[in-house]
Symmetry: C2
Subunit: 348 residues, 2 copies
């Protein structure tokens, strides 16, 4: 980043000068949704806990944390500087995706922020804006931020717990896929991985063309297909999860939970890879690795009985098979075990 911007950032007021109450007063107004947004929060911030509607007597709940230098870098090798807006948006997106993957709709979030004392106040305000924008622009029309927690630490850490509702339906689990089912994908796969490769490459961010830039943007601000989860449930999806750690890794999880084998269609994989050509050519790599190993687009992988018409947004990606006598659950491409990795927080 240019030195003049760096020094401007350094001169900004940091959270060290604010009390917890002062900082909350800067954040809360930015978390408000516009009138007409049908949020489910019955009691919002200001007490020891919030209260959220659960009209069918069940609440879906998930939690996810982003940590500086693990899940994002403040400054990437290609010169891109992660904004607070990016981190807020991504926190919203990946949590909303977990609710989507159950076939549910998000109703509420609570947010815990850990901030180094030198974090600029404007960066935190920007994070709140990104969180609000993510909820709104991704279409989580029943969701708002119900409360949160603030504290200090050596590194930025953002944890969101998200609540959702199934509206009286049953959750779609990972374990329901059956031999004969169709495997289908909603959303993109590999785009965020291409974006990560661009962020980590030696090609300056400001020299990227629009065809490459779209991948970088998707890594920083993922766009999970939020309508698709409830639509899959309504259509009779037998199993579902979101692709957060890679098609192969998450595919294996679905296969293991359902005790089946997944056969991916090589022609479809090639099509998915083709879309990534602009970034792959620029970096001189095979885009198949991004399709098979890349997470963080938060697309949905779902299985449907073969007589079901796939709901809007889903396209076929393969098929589900019974295990042979000598085989364990797994993922095959062109009849062979697929073995490109995927993301593991500890073993990589």
């Amino acid at each position: 980043m240019p030195e003049d911007l760096r020094s401007r950032v350094d001169r900004q007021p940091s959270v060290a000068g604010l009390s917890e109450a002062d900082l909350l007063a800067r954040i809360f107004p930015r978390l408000q949704m516009e009138a007409g947004h049908t949020a489910s929060t019955l009691l919002g911030p200001g007490d020891d806990a919030a209260v959220v509607a659960a009209p069918d007597g069940k609440t879906v709940i998930s939690i996810d944390t982003q940590v500086q230098d693990q899940d994002f870098r403040l400054l990437w090798p290609n010169g891109y500087r992660t904004t607070g807006f990016d981190v807020g948006w991504k926190a919203a997106a990946q949590n909303l995706s977990d609710i989507n993957a159950m076939g549910a709709q998000a109703t509420s979030m609570v947010v815990s922020l850990t901030l180094p004392v030198d974090t600029p106040v404007s960066w935190v305000e920007d994070l709140a804006d990104g969180l609000t924008a993510g909820i709104r622009e991704l279409g989580a029309v029943r969701c708002s931020v119900a409360g949160g927690d603030l504290g200090r630490g050596r590194e930025i850490s953002v944890t969101v717990a998200v609540l959702g509702t199934l509206d009286g339906g049953r959750p779609v689990l990972r374990s329901g896929a059956r031999a004969g089912d169709i495997l289908a994908l909603a959303g993109t796969v590999g785009h965020a991985a291409a974006g990560l490769a661009l962020l980590e490459a030696d090609v300056p961010a400001d020299t990227l063309g629009p065809a490459e830039r779209v991948f970088l943007d998707l890594q920083c601000r993922p766009r999970p297909p939020l309508g698709a989860g409830p639509a899959a449930r309504a259509a009779g999806a037998t199993a579902m999860l979101d692709i957060s750690d890679g098609l192969l890794r998450d595919g294996r999880r679905l296969a293991a939970a359902s005790n089946v084998a997944i056969a991916l269609d090589p022609a479809r994989l090639a099509e998915l890879a083709e879309v990534l050509a602009p970034a792959a050519v620029l970096l001189g790599v095979d885009p198949a690795q991004w399709v098979l190993g890349g997470g963080e687009d938060h697309g949905l992988l779902a299985t449907f009985p073969d007589d079901v018409q796939l709901p809007p947004g889903f396209t076929a990606l393969g098929s589900i098979h019974a295990l042979g006598t000598d085989d364990g659950p797994g993922v095959l491409t062109a009849g062979r075990a697929a073995d490109t990795g995927g993301w593991d927080h500890f073993a990589h």
Copy 2:
């Protein structure tokens, strides 16, 4: 700590050697509750989200984070080494307390752990044991751990989001106190602060007698009075919060939300300080500062109409008054504004 134990810790297997799945497999069995524990989890770990019962159509939700070197030290100045069990217990306790403070009962927790790669696996297992023990021994008989998230970071960070139920009742807010109400306390106040002072003092932990040790133990493993919150709600409490940041600071929050003045009874404050004498004498300090400024016991501060019999566990601590024409909301002792601080994550 003795060098031989230090070196034994250093030789223990760390989380660096385990995949996320392997580490989860070490943790989950330790989070199981015994048969007969009436947990509300309808779908537990293993999918993208959990499902928790909300029988009355409402869910109470709170979130709280503990960060190494901010909320606990792995090694304290007095030689005490914080165990994983302590951190797990405290995570359970402070989150259960937030639900208690609304007059609700906890139904479920989700946990996000951020761990440096050199964290011993045994320390993480111990944390899971502490979380389970906290839930069980504090009497959260409807609560269990429904899911979680694991990631790496430079410092240990433990975030818990906790869900609860009001069983059809209305939450007790901070804003309902009225002139003429009685102010009452359930649980202890100042004990955890005395424990913190002992941990930070020059008196070796292993030389403490049982009368002092009890305070250190309460700082590390708080014991919020979990029955008292729902009992206060049932008895008609007009306002309530948990004392997490100090009697004065939290009292001011209640006063501000209700737009009233709180008068604390000096004789009761003296009684509360007297209990802390063993630690105060040892350290040569005035225990009144712990009573007024110390948080983390997670006692409850509640207000009741003056014709209500205080529920079991509560004792009177003062009274609620209308604001004079020139006064803002606040806390008085013996007719004077009380001004010992309390805990603020940013401004202290």
